[in-house]
Amino acid sequence: MAAHPTPAVNEPGAYVEKFDRFQKSAHDPSWLHAARQAAMGRFAARGFPTLQDEDWRFTSLAPLAKLPFRPVLKANLGTLASDTLSTLPFAGLQGSCLVFVDGHFAPTLSTIAASGDAIRIGSLAQVLNTSPALLEPRLSPSAPDGETPFAALNAAFFQDGAFVHLPPQHVLPEPVHAVFISAAASAGSTAHPRNLILAEAGSRMTFVETHVSLAGAGHLTNAVTELAVGDGAQVEHVKFQDQGRQAFHLATLRSTLGRDSRLRVHSIATGARLSRNNIDTRLAGPGLECLLNGLYLTRGEQLADHHMTVDHAEPRGASHEYFNGILADRSKGVFHGRILVRPGAQQTDAKQTNKNLLLSDEATVNTKPQLEIYADDVRCTHGATVGQLNAESIFYCRARGIGLETARHMLIHAFAGEIIGRILHAGVREELDRLIWQRLEQHPLVGQPHAPHP
């Protein structure tokens, strides 16, 4: 392939220049200053991934590269009416709600439900101001394994995000909901949310992360969420990426799991022109269990990419991955499932399934497992399917008097329901079910017959 000259805005140089200006204006503690500097160095060294990069083979960032890079260093909170909030997903959810506009905390729009004084729920920037020492070990380390260039860019530019700290044995019965709103109007506006969730030993919580857009022009959300799940802790993380059709959404969810902990991750992607979720899960203690569960609905020219790394570092860990995709029009799904079983991680039970439902002949899916197994006593299974709605099932419904369109709806809903049904928190599950149903109704091909393939 002929090498295209990269547009000037996309050269690391342009980012470095923005970064230098940003750093001059920031009043960071010196450790953070250094950490940002190092992270920017990593991004500059790697630049934008291209299709030649094995991890980005199916996801072209060319349309993003055409946008200018405009990190939103200060949010304009005044433009947002509080009744906008009531129309957003999970508006009625009990518990704390942290609202971020272009990556910045909006205290007047947020509600922090009363919690024991030991529990901290709020803005990362505030914690950085008041108790930076608490964050230093979390934010300063060098490049984590498998860091994407964009996670490095986030480490350089992040200013705020959700912060939750649950001391040992504390239980949060109601979820913490963080809403990220892209509102800035100019093309290329970029938010770098950084969330840090620390659930210490024996604690329990549900964290919901939604991403939406009010902005019409092309914009970027470049998010990183870190989840530290302590020994015996139980955490459910639900992400609903429902951004506008002009949005680019790049995100890393990095989880570290302690001994006997339970983590349930749900990644639901319905929005954005292009979305990429890197979900890196490190099973760092023995005997733990994690569920990685996801659903992507795409139509038009959308692309949804999930890039999973499950790192079994200790014995007796179980990881179960289930990802379903429903794709219409010329949209594209990408699933990459890497499972690493390190030497000594005996009795690992790793399972991975990726199922895709194509509602159009032009939709495409690239799905690829990548197993690297260095222990001998393991159970590792993977499977992927790409297909249309089952013609037999449709006929069975019709033979009972259920019309073709209703039958298709039922089956598609069921396919999505396999994923939604795994969300433990009832309120979150029901709301997501409703939202997904609504989004499916907007799918152009849900109700239309599709040539049966024998």
Partner: protein, 256 residues
């Protein structure tokens, strides 16, 4: 009053260019039970499929009249709403679709079609309770996805249970006896018999005479290579059981 429910006139049908049914004639009147027997591959399921309107089968000639109208004009769901029911030889598993939800949707489609008010969840549960008992179906089955993980026998009983709820005018039972142990067979047959009345009819497809000890047909037809080669009363089934299918030679085309 006694005009036929179903009239099949010289029906030939198949898949693509392949002809499977080669001129079937059959008339079913209210209150009648007909049995179709025949060896593997003779076209029994194909006949059921054509009646129910399954995709992929083409009618190459002849007519099917149902309640006086051209059945083949109607989409499968329209046939079902008009009271045609097919109990599948291989009931389909539909993961993720709850059995109660599914059957309630079906039931309400039929009610809407008849101009009756739809049933809500409570009313529907009331309706199905007795029918579950009739088929000896454990209640938790209804809470599971349609047919998913059901045993072979449960699937077949579930078909007849659906029939009991939907109360068809014409039920076509395709090998409902296969895969059933003797007790289940009796339960299913008993269910089918209870559902029979003067205004509806049943077309029972089976290999074995065994089922016909419990569901006693008024007429037995032998299907062979896409043709009905012999028709008779219930004693024909016994004769077939004894002598096999081979004693019936295909009638010469001239004899038709």
């Amino acid at each position: 009053m006694n005009s036929p429910i179903l009239e099949i006139l010289n029906l030939s049908a198949g898949v693509g260019d392949k002809q499977i049914l080669k001129g079937i004639d059959l008339t079913i009147r209210p209150g009648e039970v007909h049995a179709i027997m025949g060896p593997n591959g003779s076209g029994k399921s194909t006949l059921a499929a054509v009646l129910a309107g399954r995709d992929g089968y083409t009618v190459q000639g002849g007519q099917v009249r149902y309640l006086g109208r051209d059945l083949l004009e109607f989409a499968p769901e329209e046939r079902a709403r008009e009271g045609l029911f097919l109990a599948f030889q291989y009931p389909v598993e539909i993961p993720g679709v709850n059995s109660t939800y599914f059957l309630k949707a079906a039931c309400n489609e039929l009610r809407k079609h008849k101009g009756q008010p739809e049933l809500d969840a409570m009313e529907f549960l009331e309706l199905v309770k007795d029918k579950m008992k009739l088929l000896h179906l454990p209640e938790d089955l209804l809470k599971r996805p349609v047919n998913e993980g059901f045993s072979g026998g449960e699937k077949k009983r579930n078909e007849i249970f659906q029939m009991a709820v939907l109360e068809p005018r014409l039920a076509v039972l395709d090998e409902t006896d296969s895969g059933l142990d003797i007790d289940a067979l009796k339960v299913v047959a008993n269910g089918v018999n209870k559902l029979k009345h003067a205004q509806n009819a049943q077309l029972v497809i089976t290999h074995y005479q065994r089922l016909l000890n419990y569901i006693v047909p008024d007429f037995v037809h032998v299907l062979r290579d896409g043709r009905i080669v012999k028709s008779g009363g219930k004693e024909l089934a016994l004769e077939l059981e004894e002598k096999g299918y081979d004693w019936i030679t295909r009638p010469e085309p001239a004899a038709l």
